[in-house]
């Protein structure tokens, strides 16, 4: 059961990586629904430059990689791994916090009687 789930998570991650790495470079480059409405209605120019507009991954690419598709695919790979990492770190933190709280409650209980 346990290893079966490990395989499931691993397989799922491989699917996510494959989608980000190999499929995302071929995704539509048209503005998304919200941006298109903003353009049509003339409020797209109210958008301010993103604070990380000059960041190394801005716009789903890796600065320094000139091949556009490779740049986008690899940036997607980084995004998938970072997202997984952040969530697992947060989840483990929650588990530890929960265990700590339970231990403290047990101590308080045994101290009280």
């Amino acid at each position: 059961m346990k290893s079966n789930q490990k395989m499931f998570v691993l397989g799922g991650l491989l699917v996510a990586i494959a989608l980000a790495l190999f499929v995302s470079p071929f995704a539509s480059g048209n503005p998304d629904g919200l941006n298109k409405v903003a353009i049509d209605q003339g409020f797209d120019d109210t958008a301010e430059e993103h604070a990380l507009e000059d960041g190394p991954l801005a716009g789903y690419g890796i600065r320094g990689i000139d091949n556009e598709r490779m740049s986008k695919g690899l940036s997607g790979l980084i995004g998938v791994l970072v997202t997984f990492g952040v969530l697992v770190t947060f989840g483990v933190g929650l588990l530890l916090f929960g265990a700590l709280r339970a231990a403290r409650a047990r101590r308080a209980n045994s101290a009280g009687g």
């Binding site: 503005p31 629904g33 919200l34 298109k36 958008a47 507009e53 716009g59 947060f90 989840g91 929650l94």
Partner: protein, 231 residues
């Protein structure tokens, strides 16, 4: 659906951030009440998958594209509370890619994680009561709720724009355009969500939070009992 900085004024963004933080606070508390070790990598996978699929813009009419928001997908797979955390983390990581504003993060979390997961899961639960208790019923419920959740997110944006939108576009026109195009994008959301939920139901039905009651899954039963006792 990612709002950049500037579209919505600071006051409205701040209000949305407060609402989003409150919602996420509830999500974290509820999640920590039932979280088990084995669910952590699963939630990580759901977030990673949503990140990947959000990159896959598909064309809709007239030079417009759309992509999965993933709120209902995450909520059905890991529950609305953990699901909201998953989508919020995706939105946070996307800041590295300069996608979605920084001051607009609260707005985006509100529209996609809170409205998407909480609102979307409510609709999903409603459809599950109406539709047959089969894997097909769960898949269909997830798909339809997912589609509607995109329309709900668009409606939420419209309200935010009405309160504090920049550029002075007439609100009626904006509402019709945003809701209209997101109804079409919602069809894509429904198809992707239905396909993914259907696939997981085929491989590991016991891992689908929203499929509880369909099969004897001890983990789910335990989760639901803890939740019931906690609230």
């Amino acid at each position: 659906m990612h709002i950049p900085d500037g579209f919505i004024n600071a006051g409205t963004s701040l209000g949305a951030a407060a609402a989003a933080a409150t919602g996420l606070g509830v999500a974290v508390r509820k999640t920590s009440a039932y979280l088990e070790d084995r669910q952590v990598p699963l939630a990580g996978l759901v977030a990673a998958y949503v990140f990947a699929v959000q990159m896959l813009n598909f064309p809709v009419v007239g030079g417009t594209s759309g992509h999965l928001l993933g709120g209902v997908l995450a909520a059905v797979l890991v529950g609305p509370w953990a699901g909201a955390i998953c989508v919020a983390v995706v939105l946070l990581v996307q800041a590295l890619f300069a996608d979605g504003g920084i001051t607009a993060l609260g707005l985006n979390v509100l529209n996609m994680a809170i409205v998407g997961c909480f609102g979307g899961y409510l609709m999903f639960a409603l459809f599950r009561r109406i539709l047959p208790r089969t894997t097909g019923g769960v898949t269909l419920s997830a798909g339809v709720a997912a589609g509607l959740s995109v329309v709900a997110a668009a409606a939420a944006f419209t309200i935010e724009y009405a309160i504090g939108g920049a550029g002075g576009a007439p609100i009626g026109t904006v509402a019709a355009a945003v809701v209209g195009v997101h109804t079409l994008i919602g069809v894509g959301e429904a198809l992707i969500t239905g396909a993914t939920v259907g696939m997981v139901l085929k491989v590991r039905p016991d891992l689908v939070y929203g499929a509880h009651g369909l099969l004897d899954a001890p983990l789910l039963r335990r989760q639901l009992q803890t939740e019931g006792a906690g609230s």
